[in-house]
C-alpha cells in the first residue's frame, strides 16, 4: 500500500469533513451512507465503524469482500473533494484497531455508543474531485464550448 496524499489525509482526519461510503446493492443499485467515523489510522488505508451487522450498507460490504467488488468513498470539505475507489480488505470484530474505533465512538457519542465492526478499505484509485480542478481539466480536454456566455463577459 502507498501513502495517501497529504491533503486527503488531513481531510480524512478532520471530523468536520463530509464522508460518504458508496456500495452496490445485490440488484446493482448504488447505496450511499454518511460515515462520521471514517478516517485513516495508518495514512495508507481507510477505516470506518459499522454500527450494525444487518444494514444494507454492511451487507453490501460483505458482498464486496466476498466477491471482490469495489466500493467508493467521497470525502468533501467546502470546495475540496476526493473520491477514493478501493476494496474492503478486512472486517475487524476485535483487536487493537477495533478497540481504538470503539473508544473513538464512545468519546464522540457517549459511553453507550456501540459498533459492530470496523471495515478496512484499501485504496486503488484516488481522484481529486474538487470543482476548480475538474473545471480546469474539462477546459483543457474539451475546450470552453459548454460555458454559459454570461460568465465570459468582462468583469464589471
Amino acid at each position: 500500500m502507498s501513502k495517501l496524499p497529504e491533503e486527503l489525509i488531513e481531510l480524512l482526519k478532520d471530523p468536520a469533513t463530509s464522508k460518504i461510503v458508496g456500495t452496490i446493492d445485490e440488484d446493482g443499485t448504488p447505496h450511499l451512507v454518511a460515515k462520521g467515523s471514517l478516517t485513516t489510522l495508518d495514512e495508507e488505508s481507510i477505516v470506518f465503524a459499522e454500527g450494525f451487522e444487518g444494514t444494507q450498507s454492511n451487507r453490501n460490504l460483505v458482498r464486496s469482500i466476498w466477491f471482490d467488488r469495489r466500493v467508493s468513498v467521497n470525502i468533501t470539505r467546502g470546495l475540496t473533494s476526493y473520491q477514493v475507489k478501493g476494496r474492503p480488505y478486512k472486517y475487524l470484530i476485535t483487536g487493537s484497531t477495533f478497540r481504538q474505533m470503539i473508544n473513538r465512538a464512545r468519546e464522540r457519542r457517549g459511553q453507550e455508543a456501540d459498533i459492530a465492526g470496523v471495515w478496512v478499505i484499501v485504496p486503488e484509485e484516488i481522484r481529486n474531485e474538487s470543482p476548480a480542478l475538474r473545471a480546469r481539466e474539462v477546459a483543457e480536454k474539451r475546450g470552453g464550448f459548454h460555458n454559459h456566455l454570461d460568465v465570459l463577459r468582462p468583469k464589471e
Binding site: E26, W66, Y89, S96, F98
Partner: protein, 415 residues
C-alpha cells in the same frame, strides 16, 4: 461414499460462485485441521495473543503452548480450529511472515489470517484465588464458560462417539491446583464475567455448556439448578433483564426450560441433536438415547420455541458423522437428504438446525474414520441456508463472530 473425485478449495470456489472463498476455506480448515509453524507458535505466545494456560478441551501433550483461540479470516469469520499435534494427516499450515499470519496449503499462500487478542481478565484471580482464565475462555466476541467439567455419559461408556470433551479431567486439576474443581463456584463465574466486561467492546455473548449430569429426583434437576444459579450469578453483572447468551445443554422438559427462561436472563437454548437419522442417533449418541431418546430431544427443542421464541432455539449436528461406519450413509445424496429433512422439520417449528464439521479426533470412538469430501460441506451449508431463509430464520446468536463452528450461519450474513 460415492464421490468420484474430491475437489479442493479453488475448484469449489469456481464451481460454487455464490459461496465465498472464506467460508469454503473455513470448512476445509476445520475438516483438515491446522498446524502452526514455530514462528506462529512463538508469535502467538507473545503477550498480545497468548491464550489461557488451561481449557476444558483435552490434551495430553504438555509441550503444547497455550492456544490463542479461533483463527480470524479477513472478512471477520472466526474459525474454531486448534493446532493439536499428531491429530491431522494433511493440515493447513499457519505461518508468521513479516509481522502477519498467513494460511498455507502445501507451500501455497492462501490468505492472511489473525487471532483475537488475549483478553485482559486472563492472568487475574477471583477473590477466592481461582485463576479467571480457568473459569472462562475467550472467542473473538464470545465468552465461553463450562460450569461443570465432567460428563456422566462417560461413566457408563455412553458418551457420544465423536466426543473429545472432558477426557482429561485429571490433568486439568493438576494444572489449576486444588482450587480447581469439576464444579465451578458461581461467585468465581460472577467475578470473572464482571472483570471481562471491563474491556470495551470485547464480548457480545456469553455461552454456557458443560458435561451432562442427569442426576436428581427428576432427571437433570441438579444440572438445571446449577445452570440457574450460574446464570443468576452472571446476570448480576447486567442492568437488563435479559443478556445475549446461549446455553448448550441436554434436552430438558418444558417445565425445566421454562424455569431457565423465567428465573434467569438466558436468551437462547440449544439442545444438540448431533445426528438426525434415527438409527445413527442410537449408535452415535447412546447417552442421549438412554436419557431419553431422539424423539424426546426433538420435542424438547420444538417445545422450547414456545418459551424462547422463534429463532432463539438451536440444535447443532456434527456434519459428517452420519457417514461413520459401520452403518453410516454411503452416499452424499443420502446424507444431504437426511440433513435437509431435519433442517426443514426444525425450521418449520422455529428451531435452527446448525451444522459443524466433524473431526474424527484420536481418542474418540470414531478415530481414524474418513470424513466426507469438502464439496459435501459446501452443498450442505447452501441447502441449510436456503431452507432457513424460506422460513425467515437467521442464526444471529450463533453467527460468524460468536461461535466459529458454523459455515451455514456464516453464509447468512447476506440475508
Amino acid at each position: 461414499m460415492s464421490a468420484t473425485q474430491e475437489l479442493g478449495l479453488q475448484a469449489l470456489v469456481e464451481k460454487y460462485p455464490d459461496v465465498p472463498m472464506s467460508i469454503i476455506l473455513k470448512l476445509d480448515l476445520q475438516r483438515r485441521g491446522i498446524s502452526f509453524t514455530d514462528a506462529t507458535a512463538d508469535a502467538t505466545n507473545e503477550p498480545y495473543y497468548r491464550g489461557p494456560e488451561q481449557t476444558a478441551f483435552s490434551s495430553k501433550d504438555t509441550t503444547q503452548r497455550p492456544f490463542p483461540g479461533p483463527l480470524l479470516l479477513r472478512d471477520g469469520t472466526s474459525v474454531l480450529a486448534s493446532p493439536v499435534k499428531g491429530q491431522f494427516s494433511d493440515p493447513y499450515s499457519v505461518d508468521y511472515v513479516d509481522g502477519k499470519f498467513f494460511v498455507f496449503d502445501k507451500g501455497e499462500r492462501i490468505d492472511e489470517v489473525d487471532f483475537s487478542p488475549r483478553p485482559e481478565f486472563y492472568g487475574k484471580l477471583t477473590s477466592r484465588g481461582v485463576p479467571m482464565e480457568s473459569i472462562a475462555w475467550s472467542r473473538p466476541q464470545r465468552l465461553d464458560i463450562y460450569p461443570y467439567r465432567y460428563c456422566h455419559y462417560w461413566d457408563t461408556r455412553d458418551q457420544c462417539k465423536f466426543c473429545a470433551f472432558f477426557t482429561d479431567l485429571k490433568k486439568q486439576k493438576q494444572l489449576a491446583g486444588d482450587s480447581y474443581a469439576k464444579v465451578v463456584h458461581p461467585e468465581d463465574i460472577y467475578e470473572t464475567v464482571r472483570e471481562a466486561l471491563r474491556e470495551p467492546g470485547r464480548f457480545s455473548q456469553i455461552n454456557l455448556t458443560a458435561g451432562t449430569d442427569y442426576s436428581g429426583d427428576v432427571p437433570f434437576e441438579k444440572e438445571v439448578e446449577r445452570y440457574i444459579e450460574v446464570l443468576q450469578a452472571i446476570g448480576r453483572n447486567f442492568r437488563t433483564r435479559r443478556f445475549p447468551s446461549q446455553l448448550i445443554a441436554p434436552a430438558y422438559t418444558k417445565q425445566q426450560v421454562k424455569r431457565l427462561y423465567d428465573e434467569t436472563g438466558l436468551s437462547s437454548y440449544c439442545p444438540d441433536i448431533e445426528v438426525w437419522d434415527k438409527e445413527l442417533f442410537k449408535r452415535i449418541c447412546p447417552g442421549k438415547e438412554k436419557w431419553f431418546g431422539r424423539d424426546y430431544w426433538i420435542k424438547s427443542a420444538v417445545d422450547a420455541v414456545e418459551i424462547f421464541g422463534k429463532g432463539n432455539v438451536y440444535t447443532n449436528f456434527v456434519a459428517g458423522v452420519e457417514f461413520s461406519q459401520p452403518d453410516g450413509f454411503t452416499s452424499i445424496e443420502q446424507a444431504l437428504d437426511s440433513n435437509f429433512e431435519a433442517c426443514e422439520y426444525f425450521a418449520k417449528n422455529g428451531v435452527i438446525y446448525l451444522s459443524l464439521v466433524w473431526t474424527p479426533w484420536k481418542g474418540t470412538g470414531l478415530a481414524g474414520q474418513k470424513q466426507p469430501p469438502l464439496e459435501y460441506y459446501v452443498r450442505l451449508i447452501r441447502g441449510l441456508v436456503e431452507i432457513r431463509r424460506h422460513y425467515g430464520l437467521a442464526s444471529d446468536n450463533d453467527d460468524f463472530k460468536h461461535c466459529g463452528n458454523h459455515g451455514d450461519s456464516d453464509l447468512e450474513r447476506l440475508n
